[in-house]
């Protein structure tokens, strides 16, 4: 099947039900999305399929055929940070950092929907992403910082 990831088209030979996460990680070497739980609970594997926020560990690759798949690598990089990534750096959110790709992908999509979120809206949007290190206060702060900087753009 053909998959379009971060603007590049890839031809892959995988079972239709192989989760998108494992196609990205093991077949394409795109390792920003992480394996945490495998059951769509923790959110470490979060990517975008077109404008939809998806738990790639539980999303069949075949369902993403023909769509634009975006991983954390697709929204910015160390030399050209996305506003949400820049806010994550400024607030120094990460501890182990393993959940943060998923946190950032969830936050960036959410800020496209709600540009100036309230505390309650942030809590609603972000509570399905697990962080074992306890970076939640910094995640909230980084989202507010990112919202401010995105509005200034």
């Amino acid at each position: 099947m053909q998959l379009n990831v971060n603007g590049t088209a890839y031809e892959v030979d995988v079972e239709p039900d192989m989760p998108l996460l494992w196609v990205l990680r093991d077949e394409l070497g795109i390792t920003g999305p992480k394996y945490g739980c495998g059951v769509a609970f923790c959110g470490a594997c979060t990517v975008w399929v077109d404008r939809m926020v998806v738990r790639s560990c539980s999303y069949p690759a075949s369902a993403a055929e023909g769509a634009q798949i975006t991983t954390i690598e697709g929204i910015g990089n160390p030399d050209a940070l996305h506003a949400v990534q820049a806010a994550w750096v400024e607030e120094q959110v990460a501890q182990c950092g393993y959940c943060q790709s998923g946190q950032i992908m969830t936050a960036a999509a959410f800020l496209q929907e709600i540009s100036n979120p309230s505390d309650a809206e942030i809590d609603d949007a972000m509570s399905a992403n697990l962080c074992r290190c306890g970076t939640y206060p910094k995640i909230r702060a980084a989202i507010k910082r990112a919202a401010t900087s995105l509005q200034g753009e």
Binding site: W22, G32, G36, Q92, Q95, G97, R132
Partner: protein, 745 residues
Amino acid sequence: MGIVSKITRRTLLVGSMAVAGGVAFGIYAYKSPQDNPLLDDLTEGEAALTPYVMITAAGVTLITPRADKGQGAYSVQAALIAEELDVDLDQVSVDPGPPSAVYYNTALANEALPFSPADQSNVANAARAVADAAMKFIGMQITGGSTTVADGFTKLRAAGAIARETLKAAAAQESGHDALQMRTERGEVILPNGERISYARLAPTAAKMRLPENVGLRDPSSWRLIGKPMQRVDIVAKSTGTQTYGIDLRFDDMLHATVRRNPANGGGMASYDASTAEGMRGVEKIVELPGGVGVIADNTWRAFQAANAVEVEWGDPPFPAEMDAHWATLSRSFTAENLNSRPLDAGNVEAVLSDETIELEYRAPYLAHAPLEPVSAVVQVGEARIDIWTGTQVPRFIQANVAELTGLKPEDIHVHVQMMGGSFGHRLEDDYVLHAVRLAMEVPGRPVKMTYSREEDMAHDYLRQIAMARVRGTARNGRVHAFDLSIAMPSVSESQMGRQGLSLGETDPIIVTGAGDQPYSIPNYRVTGYKAPQLAPLSSWRSVGASTNAFFHESFLDELIHAAGADPLEERLRLLNDATARGVLEAVGDMSNWGAPMERGRGRGVAFARSFGTPVAEVVEVTDTGNGIRIDKVYVAADVGRVVDPVNFDNMMKGGVIFGLGHAMNCEITFANGRIEQENFYAFEGMKLYQCPDIEVRVLENGPAVTGIGEPPVPPAAPALANAIYAATRQRLREMPFSKFVTFV
């Protein structure tokens, strides 16, 4: 700059291995100016001298041998070296280095017990018991026990200072100028005439220099880095998905693998049938392992699928199959025969306990470490060497155990320590690495990445101890008068160190840490530890003994204070006999405006615990909303003597509080039919973001020693929460998780 302490080379040799680092920095730079900083091709003699500072033509690499599990260890270690070396973190590489005896934790091997508070007298007892096992123990390069900063604070600065002075001497030899007239800045020596020479250029000459006899450490007033907010060296990578963790590694021709083992950790396998699995797409090989099977395939998911398709009949669990039996074992362990230690016995508890005695029981469940990154290892078996890439806290154990498994020499086992997606003590175990090696031996020459599924990782977690406490006490004249705490748990040390073939002796200080070592003066005060028989296998879980024992101690102290009609904060302050401890309690009292009236349905609870030498106090505020308990606010203060990076300190404090609260709220590991009942995060949630309170942090720097912060914020969190819930609802919670009794919103 001021020089506070003249440290002679001789005292450094006695007190730390930093001088050896200084020596080696030159030798290595001279011999292998172009080499890869992983250093893995050094011979034994060179590795033993391997330094904290390596300079090649490519630049400066700081070796940070304490592993980074997310606690920022690489950055704080690098900052300590960089402070004296006069480099900045944006111009150096940071590398954990190879496993080496030179990186043993703390200068004196018998203080290297990573699981006990560094400053407590019971450590000395335990360490004496360790002497028998010293040959293996010496050179124990372990990350744990909140020791990274405590262990490295002087050692790493000295390593930087010695390297700097050697580079200046090299510049003097090359230029003819007086070294005393030189300065150093951003990786360069500046000559009196303003000319700058890079450290890299000086390395070949420096390598041949005699080391300075006397090196002073700079006065804190001149520090550029220590105590100032820093940007972590990994923060950009971790914000862009470009940080490579062990699980992300890829090599040419690499195979993927997983294991499926008896879900009762340590149980055997009666029989298996892999005929279906063998025919599945991508499967290369199915291998029998101790207690289960491994699958080698061309993709991790295919390996997972095939592992699940193997039909297996498991052997009996090596511990009681049902949870009731675990609790019953603890319940039966409060006997003279099981008495293990009595670190505190002031006054005469027996004589004063009377009819008004309060007698209660507390419980703390098994917990999993459950870092978000499941364990993994890449292993490549060569002709006469094995390379292992994995996130680990114990690279030297891996070396020794893989050598034993394969018959190779330890120096032929090359462990490349990787960044870890959390640990909390999980990666003090190395059995998963041995499984990966067994699998890679089936396909010699090819790298094999073995990854545990989440379910496999949860089932084979070596758990936080289950523990039970029985307490008795009295209040008199408005004061706590007698406090008698008995704790029963299986020995964590016996379980954990036993797997490494080590014995720390009969007495396990973990059974009473966090309770029998607290700086309170209660007139009649006794703490007794009872060693229960081994049950499910155990390991160190962030804050270890204190994670259960501070809950028992501080919850019961709160009950006694309420029985006395005293104020929980004021009475603790009166009872504390240590100024640093009182300082953190006064701080949270001040921060929380303790004593100010609260609305009906709201409550405030306080707890204090000193663990790993660091006193921490926490005040938790809750509201009983009618739909459940909401945690509104936490105030936390700690005294670590000296903070290296205030940003990282703030993160560790908040993370520790959330870790402590989250597990107390809703986490437990239980067994039914010999199987762990919580297979994945949906049954082991911890705190979610919407439940996270605002957390206000204060640091104090009055303590006499530099101590760690990775673990100490955890123990007071659970009792402070329980005490707050009592204040709001008059309901006492004497068993974790609290979600068995109240709902959290």
